[in-house]
Structures are given as structure tokens and as C-alpha cells.
Symmetry: C2
Subunit: 318 residues, 2 copies
């Protein structure tokens, strides 16, 4: 389900580092070589490259990339080169430190808490503590106001059971509980927060299916009817990330491309975060939604090395 | 700060397993040999012994201990032999499945969430999912009623920053916030739950110190004045586990020994859980509290192999 192409026979980390070093040196930077190496390595290979680079040249690969590259290309390559939990801790911190903390910004935290494995989420929290000398929850509590903070702290604290196990009686009962909360416009009710932050994703998907069967609408349509405030918007992102992360990321990519100009940060985040997880499915969902090809859309809205890098992560042979 | 005595030169896991196997076989079980081996090995050595025993004899060491031993001795040895996160997951499950879920029972969960490292807490949650096919929080939510569940779910979800870093302005402000909550008898207020479940323990200790300096009493004395219900009792255990785990466990041991009969489960839990962490300090606190020696008190209230095992964990040369 990953789109990146890792060759059957991969060069040693030392060979990769030598190629990168060569790309940095001399007259101008050889961006193609950087894409060629890093764009075709998985997370554990990239970790080894980072470590080996540090040992060989006594400098941080990330710092070197930062000084050699620029713009959206630099940001995307650096996000890709970080260990995924560290990348997400940095993204979460960026969201919490942003001046405009709208839902588009806070959704990064929802993605980490609801569209990742429990193991990854814990890794992000660990990385957050190491990087920022406080817990992720402390920063959420001080940066976000009620009722959103209650929900985000709950979600971030989750450690969900990660196998497919569904209790249909629970799904039935909790679909009713969600209905009550929606009708009473109490989306931040304690029961709703518990349910969304403690149940395993398969259980929650069954609950949402029950909801649809019994009440006729998708739950997020009914939440939309509750209002158009921040709480409703956040709740819809949460449901989407839990129900179908691939639909969520297809939508993130779509929104980043529509309209005048491209939202490169969102585009890069979605592709970098999912290229090794479920990008094939995201591509399928994108096509279902838009009846156009995701790869063509990305190609049409980007250019140069940035385009080449994203297309490499999408599996194109550049 | 550990009290167990691990020899400078430790036998190989295979030699330890052979000694254990020999202790199980023949006429009657050689309890002394079991104590001799397991009582002098740290957690990672015990893990290797468990793994090696399984490989060598194709049977589970825990199962064999279960069939060879009995009573309080068996329970204590088995708790000691489990991986610490698995042991605590089992203890938490036992507490949640108990018919009488009083504070003495639920305090096991508080100990795991407030008197352990963030890493251990995550390990317990992971083990809980593996053992019981659901998250620890799901079981807390279904087994415990409001307002205790709100607090326990919050605490269990924590991943605290684990270094010593204190912001005195935060300590000052949060001491006031706690005072307000105590005066309004709103111990389960969202702000209180956040504070207790997101701040690092050093920060919280500074907050409790500020509280005492400013308002004259220890915070747990003021909580006691709020009432004698479950919420107040739970809150006092939480404060104690965060403020001074060693005092808490000294108190657990004291309560397990006072009165008619001994509460062996609590006694074993405290000694097994802390023997490798801070039992030296617990011993000191016990002496400060009771002006008697912890080791003498344990010796006086226990007997036979059970006594020998606990004394071994306390560092005695049996």
C-alpha cells in the first residue's frame, strides 16, 4: 500500500551518504541525486543514512539539507528525512505555536492521534517530550481553549487496541449514544470523548456504520447539521481520520490543490506522511472523489525539484 | 535504591533454568532454590530466564511455578517473575474485575499511572491490550463510575515529561488553581485533571510545595477536609503517589501489616513492585513514619517460604 519504490538491492548507508555528500559539494547542489537517494529509501533505511552521515562527516544530515536546499522542496525533503515520530512531533508543535490555530492547523494533531498506530502516537509523544521539554498534552492545554482542548487531550492520550475486534452490541449502544449527543448538540460530552479516544478503530467504524444504518445519514453529515463552528469541524475531521484515513488524506490533498495557488505545506505533509503507509489507497479515494488522477493533479500544480520529489514518493520513475 | 542483591557474577540463564528445573522435580519442590535463583535476579535477567526456560523445556516457567507453589508465596513469586509491565497490567485488570472496587483496589491503577515512569505506563497499556483484547481505558470506563473514571482515564492517558524541570510561575498559578478547586469542592474539575495528568512529577511536587507554603497545610490534609468520600480518598492517593511514591508504598506496607491478620496481596504488591526501584527509600520512610524497622515488621507478620522470599527481595541474606 506504500507508493515509494525501494530497489531490491539497496546501496549500503555509507554508499548512500557518499552520494549525498557528493551532491552537496562542488558547484551548486545536485538535487536530482538527493531525490534519487532519499526518495527511494524507507524509514528505517533513512534512519541508518542519518546516523551514518553523522558518523562519517560529523555533521547533521538534516542541517546540511537545510543549508543546501530551499523553499517547499527543502521542507518536504527534511520532513521525509526526519524519523516519522520526530517529524510529527515537530508538525504538532508547529500547529500549537501557530498564530492562527484554526481547524486546518489543529487537524495535524487529529491525524497523529486518530490516523496513526498507537505505537506511532506514543513515539510522537516521546519525541515531543525530548524536543520541547514538556508533554504534548501540556502544550495542547495551554494553546487550545475549551471545548477543543478537552477532545484533543483525550485523543492524544489514547492507546487503542490495534487488532480487528468488534463487539456489535457496543457498536449498537454507542451509535445511539452518539445520536443523543448530536441531537442535544453536546459533541464534547464526556461519553463522546471516551468513546472516540478509547475504542479501537475497527470498533468505531462499526459504530459509525450502525449509525448510518439506523439514522439514515453518515454521522459526519449529521454533525455538520449541528453547526458550523470549530467544534463541529474538528469532530468531522476526527470521524474522517478514524473512519477512513485514506479519504481524509485524499481530501487534504484535494483541498491543497483547489483554488488559486497551492497549499504546499498540506500537500507535502499528506504525501510525506502517507507515502509509506496507505498512499495507494489515498490515490484510489482521490480518484473516487474527483474522477481525476491524483498524480496528474499533483504534477499539474507543482514544479521543479519539488514536483520531482513528490512524484518520486508517489512512485513515479523520474 | 534497589534492595535486591544480584551477585557480581551471575550464572547463565541456562544454568539458572537447570537449577529451577531441578527444584521442581523429584520428591517435593525445593522452594529455597527457587528463592535463591529468582530472588537474586533483576527484571532483564528474569526475562532471559523465562525465555530460556521456555526454549529448554518447552513449558512456561510461570505455569510451572503455578503448579509447584501455593498460597501467598506462589502469588508473590509469580508477580516477581512476570515482566513488570505484564504484572501491572494483570494487577490493573484484577482491580477492575474485582467485585468490591473500593479505593484500596483502584489505587493499583493510580500507582501505575502516577508512581511509574511514562515508559513503564505505556508498557502496561501495551501489555493490557495484548492480554485482554481491549485498552486499559476501555475497561476503566466500563468498570468505574463518575467522577473517579474521569480522573483515572486522564491519569492513565498521561505521558509525562520525565526530567527535572520546574517552572515556578506555573507552580504558583496551579497551586492557586488547586486551592480554588478544593474550596469549591470541585476536585474532579477539568483543570485539576489536566494538571495532575499532564505535568511532570517534579513540576507537581513544586506546585504542592507552593500550596503548603501559601496555605499552611499539606494539600492532602485540605483534601481530607473536603469530605471522606471516594473522590477525596482517590485524590489523596494520587497526590501521595505523585509527591512521594516511597511514602505511599511505606504506607501501603504499614496498612497491610496493622490490625488483625495481614493483607498479603498489598504487602507482596508493594515489595515486588518497588524492590528494584526505590525500596531503600521506602524503608527509610517506613522508619520515619513508624519508628520501627520495615524488615522486622515484615518478618514478624509473615512466615515460611513467603517470609524468606519477601526478605530476599528486601536484601536479606537468607
Amino acid at each position: 500500500m506504500s507508493t515509494i519504490r525501494v530497489p531490491d538491492v539497496v546501496h549500503s548507508p555509507t554508499q548512500d551518504c557518499e552520494k549525498l555528500k557528493k551532491a552537496f559539494e562542488g558547484w551548486g547542489t545536485d538535487e536530482k541525486a538527493i531525490i534519487w537517494v532519499l526518495g527511494h529509501r524507507n524509514a528505517s533505511q533513512r534512519r541508518k543514512i542519518r546516523e551514518t552521515y553523522q558518523q562519517l562527516y560529523n555533521e547533521s544530515l538534516i542541517d546540511r539539507l537545510h543549508s543546501e536546499l530551499s523553499g517547499d522542496f527543502r521542507k518536504a525533503v527534511i520532513w521525509w528525512t526526519y524519523d516519522p515520530p520526530e517529524r510529527d512531533a515537530r508538525l504538532a508543535n508547529g500547529a500549537l505555536k501557530a498564530k492562527m490555530k484554526d481547524i486546518k492547523c489543529l487537524q495535524v494533531i487529529v491525524e497523529i492521534a486518530c490516523a496513526s498506530s498507537p505505537h506511532h502516537l506514543v513515539g510522537v509523544r516521546q519525541a515531543y517530550c525530548s524536543l520541547y521539554d514538556c508533554s504534548l498534552e501540556e502544550d495542547i492545554t495551554s494553546a487550545v481553549s475549551r471545548p477543543l482542548r478537552k477532545i484533543l487531550v483525550g485523543l492524544v492520550g489514547s492507546y487503542r487496541y490495534d487488532k480487528e475486534l468488534v463487539d456489535i452490541d457496543v457498536a449498537d449502544a454507542e451509535a445511539s449514544r452518539l445520536r443523543e449527543a448530536i441531537q442535544a448538540k453536546q459533541l464534547d460530552h464526556e461519553d463522546v470523548v471516551y468513546l472516540l479516544s478509547t475504542r479501537n478503530v475497527h470498533q468505531l467504524r462499526a459504530t459509525f456504520e450502525y449509525y448510518k444504518q439506523r439514522y439514515g445519514n453518515d454521522i459526519d453529515q449529521d454533525i455538520e447539521k449541528c453547526g458550523s463552528g470549530e467544534l463541529e469541524s474538528l469532530m468531522r475531521v476526527i470521524i474522517r481520520c478514524l473512519y477512513s484515513p485514506e479519504k481524509h488524506f485524499a481530501e487534504v490533498i484535494r483541498s491543497s490543490l483547489v483554488g488559486l495557488g497551492t497549499d504546499e505545506d498540506s500537500l507535502s505533509r499528506a504525501i510525506v506522511a502517507r507515502a509509506e503507509i496507505d498512499m495507494m489507497k489515498v490515490r484510489g479515494e482521490y480518484f473516487n472523489m474527483n474522477k481525476t488522477n491524483l498524480d496528474d493533479a499533483v504534477k499539474g500544480d507543482t514544479s521543479g525539484d519539488y514536483k520531482d520529489f513528490l512524484m518520486t514518493l508517489l512512485g513515479a520513475r523520474i
